[in-house]
Assembly symmetry: C2
Homo-oligomer: 562 residues x 2
């Protein structure tokens, strides 16, 4: 029996288009003689639909569209579609009014509904906000063409439902374990419809985890994941299957839409080995693919074909320029050079070299006269004060204004280019270099920015050599370099990793060999920069804890970590 896996890239809320993608996948599945088509979690509305589901008419229109879609699906194909459904008992039982569901379309009608049981409510996930957990796990039966072969029982799970193997995690994450319940029901195969966002190394975890479960329960598993960028989240696809012996039997290429098929052999009661795409080898290539996809989808799904960014000659803007050239096409990227009297000569020549290497468009807007106009206007107020943060920020904000003016004038998407280390310690200017519709590398620490640029240069120079070797500088006052006010980036990033990703205390970080004064300084900077992060553009998430929807910190707070 052939099963098709559709790794789809939905647009949140674009129900017509998403339905069309499912329909087209169904046609291909039939051409390839598949009996069953799997689509990702919430494939009809896209994941995450967020507060759109609070609109009754949104949920109603999903159901209407599902019924229309069902009637168009070829009769012999069964399809699993992800959709939000209503919980009719909510007000009687005191439950949430919706379910995160999978609907089985069969014979052009709606045959069966399955509800997601384990609802992630941590990091970027808010599923308890909307959904009631399903009370039981269920399966459906699918008959073979050969009437002598016993029908196969297929257990249905949704994303998180399979993330509770206490042997694998060394702890229980939820009370229930759907795969255990399905095995008790005697299912022959478990399918998992997912919308699991990318983070570095996550595919390895998914494969190890499902290999473990497949082996443990002696059951093959097919994992179908959403692909594409939705705001800050990047879904990497990387759908795959595991045989009952815990071996990978299918791996769909990541970071792109795809339809693949796999055979279930009733004699072996297992999946036959199918197409196995190579795993991505380096973390750099993985992150690069994620950022390119994330930027491309954010731009296109918001209706932009062209992007603009400021080019300082520094490594962050150089990397973002390279990502945008790859994502949108070099002809659709406009880099603006905005030298000031404090800019070094290499800041211009390095930016020009980058423009040449990438073949993008560029334009130069020297900011000196605008600076002078502000200075003259503010002079009576500022005359007895020293040059400081106000003046430094002003330069950054002049640049931010110019970029927005050009972006507004020509309908370009402005990209902000700050990295995660800067965002963490607030080494960035609100309403200045933080301006943009999307923060492309705001979840990439500075040390990783360097490694990405070196990786990018592995065959030929993309990022000019001098950009990589010169000391980072904001160039907002004469002779300024980042390390005047920050610890070296390898130390800073190591401390930030412990603070942000591992939730460590100052004592724990100190015990790991870092200087207490430096740690305390970093902690103070991170806490103080909360108000900046609150107003940052959405940033593409590649780590397991990004400053975005999954980072929820109070601003007016005074906790002293120790």
């Amino acid at each position: 029996m052939k099963i098709a896996i559709a790794q789809l890239n939905p647009i949140i809320g674009d129900i017509d288009k998403n339905a069309d993608h499912i329909y087209k996948a169904a046609q291909i599945a039939v051409e390839r003689k598949a009996q069953l088509l799997l689509t990702p979690e919430l494939s009809l509305c896209g994941y995450p639909p967020k507060d759109l589901v609070l609109n009754n008419s949104f949920v109603d229109s999903l159901w209407t569209k599902l019924e229309q879609l069902a009637k168009k699906i070829p009769e012999k194909l069964s399809v699993l579609v992800g959709i939000v459904t209503k919980n009719t008992h909510a007000y009687i039982e005191g439950e949430k009014p919706l379910f995160n569901s999978i609907v089985l379309i069969e014979n052009q009608g709606i045959k069966q509904i399955f509800h997601k049981r384990l609802l992630p409510t941590y990091d970027v996930f808010d599923e308890d906000r909307y959904f009631e957990p399903g009370k039981e796990s269920n399966f459906f039966q699918l008959s073979f063409h050969d009437p002598n072969t016993k029908p196969i029982k297929i257990g249905v799970t949704v994303c998180e439902d399979l993330w509770n193997d206490e042997e694998f995690w060394g702890k229980r994450n939820y009370e229930n374990n759907p795969i255990k319940d399905l095995v008790k029901c005697g299912v022959n195969l478990v399918v998992n419809l997912s919308a699991s966002p990318y983070s570095i190394g996550k595919q390895k975890v998914r494969e190890s985890m499902l290999k473990h479960s497949a082996e443990r329960y002696k059951i093959p598993i097919i994992y179908t994941n959403q692909v594409g960028g939705n705001d800050d989240l990047i879904f990497d696809g990387n759908s795959f299957s595991v045989s009952r012996k815990g071996e990978i039997s299918l791996r769909v290429k990541g970071f792109q839409t795809a339809i693949e098929t796999i055979d279930y052999d009733p004699n072996d009661q297992d999946l036959k080995t199918s197409y196995i795409a190579n795993s991505i080898e380096t973390e750099e290539e993985e992150i690069w693919s994620a950022l390119v996809l994330g930027l491309k989808d954010y731009a296109h799904k918001c209706g932009f074909s062209k992007a603009i960014l400021g080019l300082s000659g520094g490594i962050d803007s150089s990397l973002v320029a390279a990502i945008s050239a790859e994502a949108l096409g070099k002809e659709n990227v406009l880099g603006i050079l905005m030298p000031s009297p404090y800019s070094s000569s290499h800041s211009i020549s390095d930016a020009e070299a980058l423009v040449n290497n990438l073949g993008i468009n560029s334009y130069t807007l020297p900011i000196k006269d605008v600076m002078t106009a502000y200075d003259s206007l503010l002079e009576p107020l500022f005359k007895e004060t020293e040059f400081g943060v106000a003046e430094e920020n002003l330069q950054s904000r002049i640049r931010g204004n110019l970029l927005m003016a050009v972006a507004n004038k020509f309908g370009h998407l402005l990209l902000s280019t700050g990295n995660k280390s800067e965002m963490a310690v607030g080494y960035c200017t609100l309403y200045g270099d933080m301006n943009g519709g999307l923060a492309v590398i705001s979840d990439v620490p500075k040390t990783r920015v360097f490694s990405l640029c070196k990786w990018l240069n592995r065959y030929q120079e993309v990022i000019p050599h001098n950009v990589i070797i010169k000391p980072p500088s904001a160039e907002l006052k004469p002779e300024q370099v980042d390390q005047d006010s920050l610890p070296s980036y390898d130390i800073l990033d190591a401390i930030l990793d412990r603070l942000i990703h591992r939730h460590q205390s100052i004592k724990e970080i100190e015990a790991a060999g870092f200087d207490r004064d430096i740690i305390c300084k970093v902690v103070k900077l991170v806490t103080r920069a909360e108000f900046k992060r609150k107003q940052a553009p959405p940033g593409l998430k590649v780590s397991d804890r990004a400053f975005g929807t999954g980072w929820r910190m109070p601003i007016a707070s005074r906790w002293k970590l120790d």
Copy 2:
């Protein structure tokens, strides 16, 4: 038996100071001969602590401080303190690792722990993200001085625990109902420790709801609420009690810290009537009190004593100036007038009249020369284009830069002055007039801005008369008025109310008598402005659905409401 209610204003995470406030309240309670002191939900860390609770050391330091505090509490006083505690069974049972708890301090030790059972996870609330619900409701006993009187059984509930009376709501919000369980245990009194944020008319709902429950279960209830502003949330206090007949027996004055006492009479098995503060009469007075408190606390808890804002001569900035003068003192408010060639003469004279009425400081920075500098710089790029949004925004962004420059230079808090109607339809400039550390009236619709100003002028002119009567205008091009691009504000606000607060569809709004084209235009504007709201400063919440932490919408989405 005397019971003291401490309506406290904690600083999130400032455990030392919060403990000190509880200790001082305990001393006063003893002076007033109270046997029991009630403090709000999470009184030791402040509500909401958000992701701070993900740090182990945060939770540990809370417990350490609680033990220190317990030893200082006078021996004869029992105290209920709100605190985060660990769920030691979490990893075995697959539960969340923390509880939102109330600890009973008695005889200078920790006597008993109660866990919150109903965890709000909607709007601004994320409690399922952090906490495991308590499995049962519990009470403690308190003995009277007279050994012949039977000890009183006091049932403990936390905030949401009492928000599930299915008779009152006409539906069940949660499966369990703690008050029902407590009544079965035979308790004589129910106490509720809350951190319930303000919204318009909410106190009426709280009182009606608890009157209903008290009458239904024939049990007196004491409700103790947190007071003070924490980022976007304003807690109004308004602690109160209800007798078993459903009558208000105590009402603490709202929007300020307070300690009040009430007597429980063992013969009547009821609370004796105590101090009953007047209810606030008008919604305008209520909103005004909330905004003043919210601004004052945001500024002070972030370490600012002075605020700055742009004065356009318009009604929004005038109202915000009045609020800040009240909150911070007129001498601590600096208004900046930034006329452009498009500014009308009245924009300056009206702003000056406001400055006089309020007695605040002001300074004028005409932006013409800075505009010219930008125009000259951009001329080669823009020369074949028409004056449009880019140029309009640029003026707003020049003003935004000037305000930030002055704010940075002198360490003032910049207040943004946009109202909710503008924020909804995107009639505001990102990195321009949206700049600020706090958006004071971003949850106040334009029609309400007018009614607040009229209310403010009830005894004497605070907001200049001309500011109230002239047609609203952004003055970003000649002769511009808001109604060039927007429907009249009474229609706009009515449509927005139905869209945002009542989740209505276009069809439903049309059925209520509004023009379909206008509704569609408004819907489109609201959807398109999502990217602006994403980068807005925190805004003080006064409605039941504000654009802030409780508004979680996708940006790159394409749902068409119908």
